[in-house]
């Protein structure tokens, strides 16, 4: 219980720090989607906090996907290293093959659509 209170205090202190902060996701876009769902706030800091939380969530997912991607490419490289001289510079490309297992860990089931335009 005490730790909860501590966390609450830390978060409200953190909100103060968001006064002059620019998140990667532009505020006005976040504010639009929030307003569309009925959330209206005059406090820009709250919107920044939501933007930051979303960005962190996204970043966590992307990190998981990157680990999947690295594992996959590493196993491929070891298989095909015999006919290639020297490892070339690796490029990490995000595909659904990496994203789907990463999302699965977060409880999101993504399926490949039959058609994609």
């Amino acid at each position: 219980m005490e730790s909860d209170n501590g966390a609450g205090h830390a978060l409200s202190d953190f909100l103060m720090q968001l006064e002059n902060y620019n998140s990667s996701i532009p505020e006005f876009v976040v504010a639009y989607y929030l307003n569309a769902s009925g959330f209206e706030s005059q406090d820009q800091r709250l919107i920044r906090l939501i933007a930051l939380a979303a960005q962190k969530y996204l970043s966590d997912i992307a990190n998981d996907a990157l680990q999947h991607c690295k594992m996959r490419t590493n196993s491929q490289v070891t298989q095909s290293s015999k006919n290639q001289k020297g490892p070339k510079e690796k490029k990490y490309v995000m595909t659904m093959d990496d994203l789907v297992p990463a999302l699965q860990e977060y409880g999101i089931t993504a399926k490949k659509p039959h058609y994609f335009v």
Binding site: A10, I50, L66, V93
Partner: protein, 112 residues
């Protein structure tokens, strides 16, 4: 003809385009060099859903306690309810070399 159609779509989905940009920025920051269109769109959709859901849920918590303006706790409750941890968000906010998506320029109407 095809150019025309694309322009119209851009006008409708300007915000989604910005979200797409933001997702790409985050992916680039994470260490990916590129991404295919489908995963990019999936992440954009997730982000869009995230904002709508948190807005809905925070407003719900706010109105439940008889307030009109949402406060910090409503948002925290909303995030908890969605099962999203905000542990370590301060470290994340203070991470080095973060990129910021610039807001798009206001387009000036062409003079005829």
């Amino acid at each position: 003809m095809s150019e025309n159609v694309e322009k119209v779509e851009c006008g409708i989905d300007a915000r989604r385009r910005v979200l797409n940009l933001a997702v790409s920025t985050v992916l680039l920051e994470t260490g990916f060099d590129s991404a295919d269109k489908m995963s990019l769109e999936t992440l954009t959709e997730i982000l869009q859903c995230f904002f709508t859901e948190i807005g809905n849920s925070a407003r719900g918590f706010c109105e439940l306690s008889g307030r009109v303006e949402p406060v910090l706790n409503d948002i925290v409750m909303g995030l908890m309810n969605m099962g999203i941890s905000i542990q370590g968000i301060e470290q994340y906010a203070a991470r080095p070399n973060r990129h910021v998506v610039q807001p798009p320029q206001q387009a000036t109407a062409p003079r005829t």
